[in-house]
C-alpha cells in the first residue's frame, strides 16, 4: 500500500469532453503507468468546473494548480515537470492581463465573486463515488431530517430560507410543497425536472453530471416533506452522461441503504427511477412533462388543475427543477438564516448562470442573487472577447428578454428583471457584442419558439407564426409602416392567451428588442438598411475601385459569375445577381471588397418596379 501524494482532478463535464478531455485522461493513465507513478497519483474524473471556454481543464491538488486547454501532447510534460520535479507548467496556467500566472484555482478572478452552493462539489469530487459525496457532508441533511424533524418542520425551514424555484418562474418552493403535504391522498409523486432546454442554459446538466447525489438527496428530503414514496427524474435524451450518472447514483444509494425501505431507521421509504425525453422543448413545462412520463405526446394542459392537486396518474405531484433540489441539502445543514442572508429582499440565496456568446469566460458560474449584470458580465465573465463592445444580453433564453447597457447596474433578482422585460428563466445569459443585429436575433428566437410550439393552442401555433412572418418580412427588406405596432399587438395578445408558459413568454425577445432597440427595427423598415450588415437583403458588397488591382480572382471564384471587369477598368459587382455569399471578400488579396449597410439602389429599383407590375396585374 502506498499513500497518494497528488489528486489530479480532470473536468469530465460535457463541455470538456466535447473538447477532448477523455483523450487527456487516457493519456495520463498511460504515461503514469509507463513511469511507474500509478501508486502515487489519483486520477479523478469530476463534473463541470465552470470555465468551459478553457476546456479541457484540470486542477492538481494539494497545490490547487489550474491548467487550461490541455492537449494530449502536454500530458508528458505535466507528468515530467510538475509531478516528478514539482515545477508547474507555466504556459498551461491562466494569466492575468500583465501575463502574470495565476498559481492556484482560488486566485483566478472567474472564481472570486462566486459563491458555490448548488455547485459546491461540481469539479471537486468524483461524481461516480458516493463516498466522496458523503465526505463533503452528503446525506447528513437527509439523516437529520428523517431522524429529528417532522415533514412540517422541514417545509418550515425551506419557507424561512426563502428558496424559490430555479427553473424559470420563481414560484416559492415551500408553497408548492405545503399544498401537496396538506393533501390527504395516499399516493403522491415527486418529479425532478431535468428537461433543460433553454438555449444557452446548461446548469442542470452540469449539476446532474457533476454531483448527482446532491440532487438525489434533495429529492428525498422534498419527498419526505410532502409524503411521496416514488420519485422520477425526467431528463432529456440529449444528456446521455447525466442519465448515466443519476442512474448510477440511485444504484449506489440503494446499495448503501440510503434509499429503499425505512431509510435511517425511520418510517420513510423511497424509490426513484429515471425517465428520458425524446427531443421536445415544451416538455420542460410541468403539465407537458407529466404527460410525457405517462407515455404520451408532451402537450401541456390548462392549469388549474395544478399538478400539486392532480398531476402524474392524476395524483398530487410536485415538479421541482434540478438546481432547486441542489440547494436543499445545504439549506438543511447550514440553516435557513444562512441561506436567506444572501441575496435581495425577494430573491434569496445564489443562482447559477450559464455565460455564453461573445464573453471571454464562457461557462458556468454561481453568484449571490442581487449581483449586478455588470459584475456578472465584466468581473466574473471577464468582459467581451476581442476589441468589441457590449451591446445586449439575452437573459432567460427564448422566454426572456434582451437588456442593454443602460441596465448594467440592475441587480439580478426575479422582480428587477421582470420589470424590465427580461426574466431569470433558467439562468441562460447570452452576451452579444455591437456587431449583432437585434432584429435578426429576435427573429432567431422566434424561429426557435415556432419550431418548438406543440401546436395545441391557437395563439401560440398561429400567432407566433404570424410574428415570425412579419420579422422575416422586415429582415428581407419588405417591412411596412405599422409592422412594429402589429408585432407588439400580436405579442401582447399571445402573452395573455397562450395555454402554457412557452407561448406566454415566447413574444418576450421581440417585445424587449422593440422596447430597447426600436431604432434598429425602424432602420430595417424605412431605410431598408441593417447597420450591422447581418441581414443579407439589407446590405451589399462593394468593390473599392481605388484599391482594386484588377487581378480577377473574385470574378473567377464567384459562384454566380456576377463580377465582371478588366485589369484596366477594375471590377464591379452586378448587384441584381449577387447572392451575398462573401466569397469575393474572402479571396480578395488586397481587401478591396467590403460589406456596406443598406439595400443597393439597383435592387431597390428592381423590387419597386416588380411591385408596381404586380399591382397592375392584380387590378
Amino acid at each position: 500500500m502506498s499513500l497518494k501524494r497528488i489528486d489530479l482532478l480532470i473536468c469530465c463535464g460535457s463541455g470538456c469532453v466535447s473538447a477532448g478531455a477523455i483523450k487527456i485522461k487516457d493519456q495520463f493513465h498511460s504515461v503514469l503507468k509507463d513511469k511507474g507513478l500509478t501508486n502515487e497519483i489519483n486520477i479523478i474524473e469530476t463534473g463541470c468546473m465552470g470555465p468551459c471556454d478553457y476546456g479541457p481543464v484540470m486542477v492538481i491538488y494539494p497545490e490547487g494548480v489550474f491548467y487550461k486547454k490541455v492537449t494530449p501532447e502536454d500530458v508528458e510534460e505535466i507528468v515530467e515537470e510538475h509531478f516528478l520535479k514539482g515545477r508547474p507548467v507555466k504556459r498551461l496556467m491562466l494569466q492575468d492581463e500583465e501575463e502574470k500566472n495565476y498559481l492556484t484555482n482560488k486566485e483566478i478572478p472567474f472564481y472570486q465573486k462566486q459563491v458555490k452552493v448548488a455547485l459546491a462539489n461540481c469539479g471537486y469530487i468524483d461524481p461516480e463515488s458516493i463516498e466522496e459525496y458523503i465526505a463533503t457532508g452528503g446525506y447528513e441533511a437527509l439523516g437529520t431530517v428523517l431522524t429529528t424533524m417532522t415533514s412540517q418542520q422541514t417545509i418550515d425551514v425551506i419557507k424561512k430560507s426563502g428558496l424559490r424555484g430555479r427553473g424559470g418562474g420563481g414560484f416559492p418552493t415551500h408553497l408548492k410543497w405545503q399544498m401537496v403535504h396538506d393533501n390527504p391522498s395516499e399516493e403522491k409523486y415527486f418529479i425532478c425536472n431535468g428537461d433543460e432546454g433553454d438555449p444557452g442554459a446548461f446548469m442542470d446538466r452540469s449539476l446532474l453530471e457533476g454531483d448527482p447525489h446532491r440532487v438525489l438527496e434533495g429529492m428525498m428530503i422534498a419527498a419526505y416533506a410532502i409524503g411521496a414514496k416514488n420519485g422520477f427524474f425526467y431528463i432529456r435524451a440529449e444528456y446521455p452522461l447525466a442519465i448515466k450518472r443519476i442512474k448510477l447514483a440511485i444504484q449506489k444509494a440503494k446499495e448503501a441503504g440510503l434509499m429503499g425501505e425505512n431509510i435511517f431507521g425511520s418510517n420513510f421509504s423511497f424509490e426513484a427511477e429515471v425517465r428520458t425525453g425524446a427531443g421536445a422543448f415544451v416538455c420542460g413545462e410541468e403539465t407537458a412533462l407529466i404527460h410525457s412520463i405517462e407515455g404520451q405526446r408532451g402537450n401541456p394542459t390548462p392549469k388549474p388543475p395544478y399538478p400539486a392537486v392532480q398531476g402524474l396518474l392524476k395524483k398530487p405531484t410536485i415538479v421541482n427543477n434540478v438546481e432547486t433540489l441542489g440547494n436543499i441539502p445545504t439549506i438543511i445543514l447550514k440553516g435557513a438564516e444562512w441561506f436567506s442572508s444572501m441575496g435581495t429582499q425577494t430573491s434569496k440565496g445564489t443562482k447559477v448562470f450559464a455565460l455564453t456568446g461573445d464573453v471571454r469566460n464562457t461557462g458556468l458560474v454561481e453568484v449571490p442573487m442581487g449581483i449586478t449584470l455588470r459584475e456578472l458580465i465584466f468581473d466574473v465573465g471577464g468582459g467581451i472577447i476581442g476589441d468589441h463592445k457590449f451591446k445586449a444580453v439575452q437573459l432567460g433564453g427564448p422566454s426572456g428578454g434582451c437588456l442593454t447597457t443602460q441596465h448594467l447596474d440592475v441587480p439580478i433578482d426575479y422582480e428587477s428583471l421582470k420589470e424590465r422585460g427580461a426574466m431569470m428563466g433558467s439562468g441562460g445569459v447570452i452576451i452579444m457584442n455591437e456587431e449583432k443585429c437585434m432584429v435578426n436575433v429576435a427573429k432567431f428566437f422566434m424561429d426557435f419558439c415556432v419550431d418548438e410550439s406543440c401546436g395545441k393552442c391557437a395563439p401560440c401555433r398561429i400567432g407566433l407564426k404570424q410574428m415570425l412572418e412579419i420579422l422575416k418580412r422586415i429582415d428581407s427588406g419588405n417591412g411596412k409602416e405599422g409592422d412594429i405596432e402589429e408585432l407588439q399587438r400580436l405579442g401582447e395578445t399571445i402573452s395573455k392567451l397562450a395555454l402554457c408558459g412557452l407561448g406566454q413568454t415566447a413574444p418576450n425577445p421581440v417585445l424587449s428588442t422593440i422596447r430597447y432597440f426600436r431604432d434598429e427595427y425602424e432602420a430595417h423598415i424605412r431605410d431598408k438598411s441593417c447597420a450591422n450588415k447581418v441581414c443579407l437583403d439589407l446590405m451589399h458588397f462593394e468593390i473599392d475601385k481605388s484599391r482594386c488591382i484588377g487581378c480577377s480572382l473574385c470574378s473567377r471564384k464567384c459562384p454566380t459569375k456576377c463580377i465582371s471587369g478588366s485589369r484596366e477598368d477594375k471590377y464591379t459587382i452586378n448587384q441584381l445577381s449577387c447572392i451575398k455569399c462573401g466569397t469575393c471578400m474572402d479571396v480578395c488579396p488586397v481587401k478591396a471588397i467590403s460589406k456596406v449597410p443598406g439595400m443597393h439602389p439597383d435592387v431597390k429599383a428592381k423590387r419597386e418596379a416588380e411591385a408596381i407590375k404586380q399591382q397592375n396585374q392584380d387590378e
Partner: protein, 151 residues
C-alpha cells in the same frame, strides 16, 4: 428482437417512450419500422395510432431509415452567435446532403437540433452519443474523415 426489448419493461403505457428509444438505438438504421410499432402496440395493448402520435411529436424519433451515424448540429442562438451556420455549410459540402438527408453510403444522416446544453463550447454537434465542441470547419472535416476511416 423487438419483442425481447419490450419484455425488459413492464407492459404499462408509461414505458412507451423508453421502449421506443431502445428499439431505435438497437436498429442499425436508427429508425422505428411499422412492424416495430405493431409489436409494441400489441405488447402495451394500446392503439398503433397513439404510438404514431408519440413518434411524430418527439424530434428524436424517425419513422424512416437513417444513416449509421446521426449528426445533430445545434442551431440554437449561442451556437448561431459563434458561427454554426458556417459549420452547417461545411457539413453539407463534406457529406453532399441537405438537412434531413442520408448520405448514399448510408454512413451519415445530417440533422439540426435544439440546444444541446454545451453552449460554453459553441458551436457544438452530437454524433450518436458523442459531443464535439468548439467546432471549426477544419475540425469538422477531421471528425468526418476519422469516422469514414473507421468503417
Amino acid at each position: 428482437m423487438i419483442k425481447e426489448i419490450c419484455k425488459k419493461y413492464a407492459p404499462h403505457k408509461d414505458n412507451l417512450i423508453q421502449i421506443l428509444h431502445e428499439i431505435q438505438n438497437a436498429d442499425p438504421q436508427h429508425y422505428i419500422s411499422n412492424e416495430a410499432v405493431d409489436t409494441v402496440a400489441e405488447y402495451l395493448n394500446i392503439p398503433a395510432n397513439h404510438i404514431y402520435g408519440v413518434l411524430t411529436f418527439y424530434t428524436m424519433y424517425s419513422t424512416k431509415p437513417r444513416g449509421k451515424n446521426i449528426i445533430r448540429l445545434c442551431e440554437s442562438p449561442p451556437c448561431y452567435i459563434k458561427g454554426s451556420e458556417n459549420i452547417l455549410r461545411k457539413l453539407k459540402v463534406l457529406l453532399g446532403v441537405n438537412v434531413g438527408e442520408t448520405t448514399k453510403d448510408g454512413l451519415f444522416t445530417l440533422e439540426l437540433c435544439a440546444c444541446l446544453g454545451v453552449c460554453g463550447n459553441a458551436p457544438v454537434m452530437m454524433i450518436n452519443d458523442d459531443f464535439y465542441g468548439d467546432l471549426t470547419e477544419e475540425k469538422v472535416e477531421e471528425i468526418i474523415d476519422k469516422i469514414r476511416e473507421m468503417r
